[in-house]
């Protein structure tokens, strides 16, 4: 299997247009700004919820999803904000949801761990580790049956990589030769358990044993991620089946917001990764080749700052959902009339 080596700094590779790099930066910057503000708002007690932020992991969402079309579906995890933003979910709609108000992505019924927006292909995320893999198989199967060259992607962590649900989904993807990417975001930990303890080998090593292509990629280097994902998506669209991408990265905010103690996260490891911050790496690469980068960067960051602040305003301004709606929408079938106890009403 093709193994991309970890590159210490990513010089601009041929074949990646500068405009694409700028877009990647914009996406990562949006994710970083969104997550950092969510972090502050949570710390200040303004945002409720059980939050798993992805600051530090921006390159995985940005680099992979840059290759996907709106109709290419993804499934994600409890740590899904980055995937949602990269896939094009409205930051305001997300923020309204995080505020627990009406009119957001999930009508207040999902929250951070369950963000979804079918219209832009962010099909599902959720609190069950590994559960997105089978769902993504169905997205890929649907694309294949429809005869389009659509693809699907499932994002999951290094911890989820040990879950039987994910493993048997890898097998089915290979057997059905589905157009799907298994994107393992290896941020070194599942909660406080190190990848070195939850798996005797690199998760990507498993792919071959199921007859699946794989690449291990530096998840801090968005260009490397973008290129590897490009190869995988091309393979999928060409009907050559699934690919497993293992992207090594790091979560600046640990396992979840409010996590009691992070002592298990060794400072030297963290500073290594912060030293190779995905935004800084890409900015450096762009500065080296793009005259007006400083101005463009400032512009982008200003825009995004506004975008996120107005999303927060939208969250603060949105009305609370009507408590009566708690019992609405359990079933999609419009003919179902049930009472509070789930009993048919004639």
């Amino acid at each position: 299997m093709n193994q991309t080596k970890v590159s210490e700094v990513s010089e601009l590779p041929a074949g990646v247009p500068e405009a694409t790099l700028v877009d990647l930066y914009r996406t990562m910057s949006l994710i970083r700004t969104f997550e950092e503000r969510v972090h502050e708002l949570f710390v200040e007690g303004e945002l409720p919820g059980f939050l798993h932020l992805c600051s530090g992991q921006e390159a995985t969402a940005a680099g992979v999803i840059a290759h996907l079309r709106t109709e290419d579906g993804i499934t994600s995890t409890h740590r899904n904000h980055g995937h949602a933003l990269a896939k094009g979910v409205s930051p305001a709609a997300m923020m309204i949801e995080l505020y627990g108000r009406a009119g957001g992505t999930n009508a207040g019924k999902g929250g951070s761990m369950h963000l979804a927006d079918q219209r832009v292909g962010h099909v599902a995320s959720g609190g069950i580790v590994g559960a997105g893999a089978p769902l993504a198989l169905g997205l890929a199967q649907a694309a294949k049956l429809a005869g389009t060259d659509g693809v699907a992607a499932v994002f999951f962590g290094d911890g989820a990589a040990q879950q039987g649900t994910v493993l048997e989904s890898m097998n089915l993807a290979a057997v059905w030769k589905l157009p799907i990417l298994f994107v393992c975001e290896n941020n070194l930990f599942g909660q406080a358990t190190t990848i070195g303890y939850s798996s005797a080998v690199a998760p990507a090593a498993r792919a071959e044993g199921f007859g699946m292509a794989s690449e291990e990629v530096d998840g801090q280097d968005v260009i490397a991620v973008y290129q590897a994902a490009g190869r995988a998506v091309e393979r999928a669209r060409a009907g050559e089946g699934p690919t497993y991408l293992e992207l090594t990265t790091y979560s600046y905010h640990g396992a979840w917001e409010g996590e009691p103690k992070r002592a298990y996260r060794l400072p030297e490891v963290e500073s290594d990764f912060r030293g190779r911050d995905p935004l800084r790496l890409l900015a450096a690469a762009l500065a080296a080749v793009k005259q007006d980068w400083i101005d463009v960067k400032d512009e982008i960051e200003e825009e995004i700052e506004e975008q996120v602040e107005s999303a927060i305003e939208a969250g603060r301004a949105a009305p609370y959902p009507d408590p009566a709606t708690v019992t609405e929408g359990v079933y999609a079938d419009p003919t179902v009339t049930i009472d509070r106890d789930g009993l048919t009403v004639h």
Binding site: G164, S169, N171, A332
Partner: protein, 342 residues
């Protein structure tokens, strides 16, 4: 009217819907059979362990009738994902006993996705076919009827037909439904035969069926227990006790109104359920009726269930495990007797 077996009635329903709607798929272990074996795309294919899906691969091909590895989480989850893309998969969890290897996809994904995504989706239209029922001498892990565990979860619909005609009509309804439907098939019913209308018709999900009217006691049954209760009811009629017999047909959402209407007239209730008793559909119905129609009850409502044990293998033990007609007779006599005693 034309007579079909329970198994063939289900087969016909799926065949009709597959012909009507190209987005209807069938997946599961050996639902076709012999995938990748040269020549086995055709009539020779198995069509499932009991041949319920036999012939479908011949007519609709391997793209729509898809054998799977023994990976229930993966292929049931795939059906859910495909549902979000507009496909309607009839997937098979061979025995309900196996739900433990894939229940998350059913209770946390299929059941909740519509609601947790804000209830603005087209729902999760999948049908999960699964076998229930003891009596085949298969032992503790291939004989259970623990449907109360799935009926518990908001977002799921659960049906359990007792006759070939209802099996066909409920399957057509299930495939057309916007929500995930658990379709339970009691193994012991597959070979039973009954009149089945030709062509396209539906039996509504969420409606119980009053099979027999009677003034003295309301007897509610689930799936195969209908035939057990029918024997009991006949015997009771001989003793001058007229039982009203209600075949539940749908376990969730529960058609309590039909039961309450009947109990309102009879004042007595006996629920017959092949499942074990704790947190069962039987105790659920007795509890709901007692709390909502207490003043209508003339005697203690009763449940006839299997005992609180795993399903044993030995024929003499398994036969003692499954509710029998006489258990129903005794329960009815007790409810009536109680009043006489009063």
């Amino acid at each position: 009217m034309r007579v079909l077996s329970f198994a063939d009635a289900i087969n016909e329903a799926i065949q009709l819907e597959m012909a009507r709607d190209p987005r209807v798929l069938v997946t599961g272990e050996d639902v076709a059979g012999g995938a990748t074996i040269p020549g086995f795309d055709r009539a020779d294919a198995w069509g499932g362990v009991f041949g319920v899906t036999r012939g479908l691969v011949t007519e609709f091909g391997r793209d729509r009738v898809i054998d799977t590895p023994i990976s229930e989480s993966a292929f049931i989850g795939a059906a859910i994902g495909a549902a979000t893309s507009g496909y309607r998969t009839v997937t098979e969890l061979q025995f309900l006993d196996f739900m433990g290897v894939c229940l998350d996809q059913i209770i946390n994904q299929a059941a909740k996705l519509h609601y947790a995504r804000g209830s603005d989706s087209a729902g999760i239209p999948i049908v999960i076919r699964s076998m229930i029922g003891a009596g085949s001498r298969a032992g503790s892990t291939q004989s259970q009827s623990h449907y109360s565990t799935v009926a518990h979860f908001p977002g799921l619909k659960v049906v359990a037909p007792a006759t070939p005609a209802d099996a066909k009509g409920l399957m057509i309804s299930a495939i057309r439904d916007q929500d995930p439907v658990f379709f339970l098939e009691n193994k012991a019913l597959y070979e039973t035969r009954g009149p089945v209308p030709e062509g396209d018709y539906t039996v509504p999900i969420g409606r119980a069926n009053v099979v027999r009217e009677g003034r003295d006691v309301t007897v509610v049954t689930i799936a195969r227990m209908l035939s057990v209760a029918e024997k009991a009811v006949a015997e009771l009629a001989g003793r001058g006790i007229e039982a009203e017999l209600i075949d539940l047909r749908t376990i969730a959402p529960l058609d309590l109104p039909t039961i309450l209407e009947s109990v309102g007239r009879t004042g007595r209730l006996v629920v017959v359920d092949e499942d074990t008793p704790r947190c069962s559909v039987a105790s659920d119905i007795v509890g709901l009726v007692s709390s909502r129609a207490f003043d209508k009850l003339k005697a203690a409502p009763r449940m006839v269930t299997s005992p609180h044990t795993p399903v044993p293998f030995a024929p003499v033990l398994e036969d003692a495990f499954i509710p029998a007609a006489n258990d129903v007779v005794q329960a009815v006599l007790a409810t009536v007797g109680q009043e006489v005693a009063v």
